[in-house]
Structure formats: structure tokens, C-alpha cells
Symmetry: C2
Subunit: 481 residues, 2 copies
């Protein structure tokens, strides 16, 4: 492993010696192991907080490259940049994994207004939903029907909907403490609203942005037309929360108002792209893979700092921390920067397919894709036995104010690995601010706090270290060895 020795700092070297010396089995070995774990976690956090690279990597991704929609020039730049940075770490192997991705382009800035009476118009901020068809070049103007979701739409039926623009206005539920639950309670409007409204004869769809704040930023995100024939696909856009409030109020005063919107987005043929992958080969069980990752693509409105530049640079930092510490993992530690999470999941699916074809064995996969905020813990998608083992490590995380070890989902990109049986995990940061930025032009580097980002990377590294060290038991509990 070239460069491994050069990267040892004084502290790293001292720790490495401690680890080597105390690694000899015998009486007191267990206690020594526990103390080593305490020291190793402290060392990982100290390094991330004092000499971490995640923040400067993200600065480049966000401010020099910017939004990285699949198939865009920026996505290609991000692939080249992260490949180069991973190579500079002196990993054992860095490579690109080809994957075909959809290419959707927003085109000219969208434009919309509420027309309360002929000539009396108020502009409102909208953005096309990812994957939407365009409006005709001259835009669409039609009466509006407001609904609180797909159920109400279906209850109203074709008669009430035909020829109209359907306005989905169910807000996120502010009483959910976990804001992702509030998101899950609304996102069906965005994902399926255009398909269902189109089948009932609507001419367009406007969706309230998935945002817990009232502000002027529309939040994009992908929709699915599903089986809808091309001729029946209708354009769909998100409206800012303030715009949604205004439209709803205006409709209450006068249900006969018209809404106008124009967008020139376009879906092209698929184009080639890549997952970016790097790994440190395991010293003892090189065939067992521990994966950390995030997704390199982002939406195009902001620069994708929280979603998911943060998860990419945190995952890269995990491997950098191991290199700097000089701790050689017993299992293969792999970072994967997935392409196309936002509008296709082609990177995640392609990676899992390739892994299955090659007969690769993933023991563990951890994704960070919930924003670069103060880490609070993890959620685990695994067997009861594996969870019990992992939950026993909670006390090691207490000094870092990491308290949440929950059962639950992990991350979209690693989900396709599930049939192959690894323990899947997601980093769980504080969620209160996430939907202020998510998929909007506000998702920028200025919304990132350096320490919060670095703490997330250290927390991931700490878990990966423990999985590597105690992976024998985990491999048994997942039926893996």
C-alpha cells in the first residue's frame, strides 16, 4: 500500500504501535481492545476536526463545479475531480464504473403567474419537476383546481379535473420531529401527481414545494410518468411555499382565476457516465467489502452541497482518515460515489448488478445522504442479531453525542445491494434544517457548517472501524461466512 507510511503523523504512528502491541491475544486482551477502541475513535474524531479534508473538497465540488445533474458537464467534472482526489490519497485502487444515465435539461428559466382577472397578473416562483415534459412554447394557461393529495384528486374525478391545472397543496406536517417523515407524507404528490392528473385529463400540474418554511424558493425533484402514454404526459412544476399560499388564498377568493406557466425542459437519450470507486484492500479478509458512499449527482438549482456533496466528501474522508491513521483494515474498505440517485438510481442499480455478477461479498454498506448536519446516529437495515451486536457499541459513541441507533432505512443508492445480504446503514444527522435547502437553489456551500460536516465523517469512520474490527461476529450473524 504505497504512501501508507508517509501519511503517518506522529500521533498516528504512536497509535499504530499501540494497536500492534496490544493486538496480541492473551489475558487482558479484551480490556486492551476496548481501550484501543476508545483511543481509535478519539483519534479519528481529532483528525477529522483538525486536519479534515471534507470541507475543502466540498468547497471545490460546490463552488468550482456546482450543481451536478446526471449527464451534465458538471457531473463529468465532478467525476474527474473526485477520481483525482481519491488517487492522491494513495488508495490501493481507484476506478470508474460505467453506467448509462438519463439526461434531462431544464432549459430556459421557468415563468408563471396567477391571473386574477384579464391583465391582472402576479408572478410566482416555479421550477420544472425533474423529468417533466415542457409546456408548449407559448406556455399553458388554464383554470386551477386545488387538491390536498392524490386521494382527493381521484375522488374528484375527470369531470372536475379535465382541462385544468391541478394544484397539489398538501403541506409537510410540521409536527413530525423527523422531517423526513414529513417529506414522506407529501412526496407522492410530486412523484405521481402528473401521471394521475394527466390520466384524468388535466393539462398541467403545480405542486407545493416540499419545504417546511414559507419562502420564495421552488424545490424540484423527480416525477414518474410510469405507463402514461407520451401523448398524455402533462408538464409539472413546483411552486414556492409562499407562492402556494398565495395561489390557495387567491383561489378561495375567486375559484375562476387562471394560472399560466411556461417551461422548456427536455429529456434526451441516455448518456454514459460513471460511479467513482476507490478502495483500501483488506489485510485479512480482502474479499469482504465494507462500503461507504453518497451520490455525486445533484439537482441543478443549487450546488448540491447538502444533497449530496456532503455525503460524498464525508465518504471520501472516511478512507482518508484510515490512510492518515495508518490503521490497516482487515476487510476491504471501499468508497463509492454513486451517479444518478436523483433521477434514475442507475448508479446504485448498476453497482449492485456488477457486484452480483462478480460474486463480490458486501458485509456492510453505509450511506450518507441526509445532509451535512450535526450527526445524531445511524439507522440500520439488518437482522436482529446484527443490530444487537452493533447496538452494543453505543457507549463508545456517547462522548461524541451520538445517541440514535435505530432500525430503519439506509440510503437509496445502497438499497439495491439488499438482496445480497449486507448490513445496510444510513448516517442520521439532525434533520431540522434539511428541507430548507433540499432540491432548491438554497442548497449551497454557505449552508454548510464545517464542524457539523466533519463530525459526520468522523462518526462514519468510527462505525466502519468497529465493523472492520468486530466483523467476524457480524459476518456470522448475517449468515455471511
Amino acid at each position: 500500500m504505497k504512501n501508507r507510511k508517509q501519511s503517518l503523523t506522529g500521533g498516528g504512528l504512536a497509535l499504530l504501535l499501540t494497536l500492534l502491541l496490544s493486538g496480541v491475544p492473551g489475558p487482558g486482551a479484551r480490556m486492551a481492545a476496548q481501550q484501543n477502541d476508545v483511543d481509535m475513535l478519539r483519534h479519528l474524531y481529532n483528525m477529522a476536526l483538525t486536519r479534515g479534508k471534507a470541507y475543502s473538497w466540498l468547497d471545490h465540488l460546490s463552488n468550482q463545479i456546482g450543481g451536478r445533474l446526471s449527464g451534465s458537464v458538471q457531473a463529468e467534472q465532478a467525476i474527474a475531480y473526485t477520481q483525482k482526489e481519491l488517487e492522491a490519497l494513495g488508495l490501493d485502487r481507484v476506478w470508474l464504473q460505467p453506467v448509462m444515465v438519463p439526461k434531462w435539461v431544464r432549459g430556459a428559466a421557468e415563468f408563471a403567474y396567477i391571473e386574477s382577472a384579464p391583465g391582472n397578473t402576479t408572478n410566482v416562483p416555479i421550477c420544472a419537476l425533474g423529468g417533466s415534459v415542457p409546456t408548449p412554447a407559448g406556455g399553458i394557461k388554464a383554470p386551477v383546481i386545488e387538491v390536498q393529495g392524490l386521494e382527493e384528486l381521484q375522488a374528484l374525478g375527470r369531470e372536475a379535473v379535465e382541462g385544468k391545472i391541478v394544484f397539489f397543496n398538501r403541506p409537510m406536517d410540521p409536527t413530525q420531529i423527523n422531517t423526513f417523515r414529513a417529506y414522506a407524507g407529501c412526496v407522492d404528490q410530486r412523484a405521481s401527481g402528473a401521471a394521475e392528473a394527466g390520466m384524468l385529463g388535466a393539462v398541467g400540474v403545480i405542486v407545493r414545494s416540499m419545504n417546511l418554511r414559507l419562502d420564495d424558493y421552488p424545490h424540484t425533484g423527480s416525477l414518474r410518468y410510469g405507463d402514461t402514454p407520451e401523448a398524455m404526459r402533462i408538464p409539472a412544476a413546483a411552486i414556492s411555499t409562499n407562492g402556494a399560499e398565495l395561489l390557495s388564498t387567491t383561489l378561495k377568493l375567486n375559484p375562476d382565476i387562471q394560472f399560466y406557466f411556461r417551461q422548456s425542459c427536455r429529456q434526451y437519450d441516455d448518456v454514459p457516465s460513471y460511479n467513482v470507486i476507490g478502495e483500501i484492500r483488506g489485510s485479512t479478509y480482502p474479499e469482504e467489502i465494507l462500503l461507504v458512499g453518497g451520490h455525486l449527482d445533484s439537482w441543478d438549482l443549487g450546488d448540491g452541497s447538502h444533497d449530496d456533496g456532503a455525503g460524498c466528501v464525508q465518504s471520501m474522508e472516511v478512507l482518508r482518515l484510515f490512510m492518515e491513521t495508518g490503521y490497516r483494515p482487515r476487510r476491504t474498505l471501499r468508497v463509492v460515489l454513486f451517479m444518478n440517485e436523483e433521477n434514475g438510481l442507475r448508479g446504485g442499480r448498476g453497482y449492485a448488478e456488477a457486484a452480483a455478477q462478480k460474486g463480490e461479498k458486501h458485509l456492510f454498506a453505509l450511506e450518507s445522504d441526509s445532509g451535512g448536519f450535526t450527526p445524531r446516529g445511524f439507522s440500520f437495515d439488518c437482522t436482529d442479531e446484527a443490530f444487537a451486536q452493533i447496538a452494543a457499541w453505543k457507549p463508545l459513541f456517547e462522548p461524541y453525542l451520538i445517541h440514535q441507533f435505530d432500525r430503519g432505512g439506509s440510503g437509496a443508492d445502497i438499497g439495491p445491494l439488499k438482496p445480497q445480504g449486507p448490513i445496510l446503514a444510513g448516517l442520521r444527522p439532525d434533520t431540522q434544517r434539511y428541507f430548507d435547502y433540499h432540491h432548491a437553489e438554497t442548497d449551497t456551500f454557505s449552508a454548510i457548517n464545517r464542524r457539523e460536516l466533519e463530525l459526520g465523517a468522523a462518526t462514519m469512520a468510527a462505525l466502519v472501524y468497529l465493523v472492520d474490527r468486530y466483523g467476524d461476529a457480524l459476518a456470522v450473524s448475517t449468515g455471511g461466512q
Copy 2:
């Protein structure tokens, strides 16, 4: 209690009925009580997150009034505003408690530069430390000696220091997970640097800002001259962290550079001011007081949104939530907005003295003065018995991601109550961003997230509810009844 009935919403009324009905002792009463607690906490959080007033109150305090240094016009405006708002809640009593406060005024904007060679100067951002004497009208120019703290200063002694500006440059320790520990590890330079350097013949003091970021904002804060005779008091200012790095680097290249600074701050005679107090009288034990509070004064550079406008509006919100719920506390619930925490603690001391004189019995006091960020828990300064009782409530807080129930300090303003024996507590929010804003012009309303602020208020209300409901046991464990 006037207005109590009018403030009942549908949900509040239903809950009140539930509480009244299930309050009858008998078989199953304990289980019912536990379910009531679960419901009540859910209700408090829901109200804070959907109809909370904390954010709009803080908007007014921050954006309409601004920084509220003791003795300033803004401090007086804040007293009048919060008194009026508390009165509008229909509390049983709202009053002002007179207290004399120091009046220190910053004067004209400070100015400083590094002079590498005659005529070769670089301006650097500074601000006078609170309580500092001014420089002469023409400023001070002198050679600089950099030290890492008070110990190094004393080790160097008079010979090395006389006639110079002492530059205290010990940074906050980024490896502390709790950033308040990093602050505690540096703040002695700011508090005592001028007194100690002055005694050794220095002509001025420059202190590195207590900030974990590298940026261009100087952070003020109070100093203490202690017994230093007036003639030996030397002026002291904070320099931004970027400025400190530049000054340190410049000194390494050339130890003979000069530093110039000018400030025209001034200490006036004490002036009258007030603590703002409101209360809901207890139904069963009106003589037992549960206090919630923050401090109404702030530094003058920003608008004091995090320090401590947030704590004030959260404390007000606790009483508003109880009024809206229609839950009548058994003990007296009192909000205190303390004056002059930042540079004198006169409000906290005066409040405790008055309480002692009147023979008031404080069972519990909770302060919020650590920023309006996502709440993580509390720290408690109390007996082992009381802590054990309170810690048993932890499961009730789990759904709100409140995990930290620690022993430790509470809040500066409630500290003087300690000899009177109450349980003292401090709200503990996430601390990672706090010192980005603390005492600097960056402490503004735009750095507040509405949900994070509201969650803090609800968390405080939840604890107060439980203390009120189960206070009999607590009163016994503190020797109070």
C-alpha cells in the same frame, strides 16, 4: 385566571377534559398518568411547532429593536416590548423588577492595523472588549508580544511585556465536541488578560476572538480589571480569527512590527433598568415557584438573536403554551427575562436577593442561554436524588430526540439562586454553530432556524410540566417541603 378559558382551542379543551377526568386517583391511575404525560408532551410540541410565537417575538426583538446592551435605549425598548407581550398572554401577574446596571458604550467604530514597516500597514478587524477603557484619542501604537495564555504571560514577566501590546492568541480547541468546553479553555485570556498584562506594564491587549471558524468578525465579551487601579487599566480589544492568524504570521516573519489600535468606548455611571417577570399562579402550591428564563440584554455588535434573544422568547413561549393548553399548573410558573447577564449579572443577583428577602421558595429554575439550536437535552445542578427522579423521565423525551440528561452547570442568571436550594437546569442545544455567532455581528435573526427555536421552547415546556406534576417528590428530595 382571566382569559384562560378563552385561550382554549379545541385540542386544548379535549386534553384538559382528559386530564381532569383521569386525574382522579384510584386503580390504574398511574398508567393513566403516564399516558397523560405522553399526550401532554405531544400536545406541547405540536402547539409550539404549529402555532408557536417564539419566532415572531424574536423577529421583533432582533429586527425591530436590535442589540440590547445594558443601559442602552434598545434594552429599555426590549423591556417595554416583552412586558407588553407577556401582559397580552393573560398571565396572572406581569411586573418589572428594578435593578441598577452598568452602562458601557462602544463609541466610534474601532480601528486597527499591523505596521510591518513604516508606511506599510494592513488593517485588521477589531472590537473593544466590553468594559474596556478607551485608548488615547490618537490611539496606541506599540510593539507586540504574542502569548498563548495567562501562564505564558506570567512566565515572560515584566521585562518582556513592558511598553508592549500583549497579543493573546490561544485558539479554541476544535477537538472538543462540546464547544462550550473549548470556550471555557480560552476565555480567561479575554476576561483577565488586560488586568494581568496591565500589572506587568503592557500598554494594551489584543485577544484572539473566541470563534472556531477562521473569519473576519471580531467577537466581544466582558473583561474584568478587578483590583487594578484606574491609572493602570489598559485598553483591550478582540481581533477576528483571520486577523489573529495574520498578526501571528507577521510576527513570526518579523518580531519588530508594530500594532496600532484606537477605540473610544466609555464606562458611565450605573443606570436603572429592570428584569421583566410574569407568572401563572399555582393552583395547589402557589408558594412553590418554577422559574424559566433567559437574559434580555445582549452585546451590541449583532442583534443578540442566539445570545440570548432565543432564550427569552423560548421562556415566554413556555408560559404561552401552558396558557394555550389550558393546563393549570399546581405550582407557580414564572418567567424571568434577566437584565445584564453579559457585563455584570446584576439582574440575576438582584433577582436572587429579592427572592431571599421575600422568603420566596424556588423549587426549580431552568435557563436557556446556549443558543436557539436543535435541543439535545438538559444539564442539571441538583442532588443525586433529584437527578435520579428527573432522569426517570428520559423515555418521555425520546420521541423528540432529546437524549442528554447530564449533571453540570445551568445558567449564569439563575446561578445566584443556588444557595436557596432549587434544582437548577440549563437547556442544552446542539453547540456546533454557536461560537460562529457568539458576541459578534453575525449573531442575527437570519442565523435562527424557526423549527430549532420552537423545539427548544417545547422541550423546556415539557420538562416544566413534569416538574410541576411530580414536584412533590422533587420537593422532598431537595429538602424543600
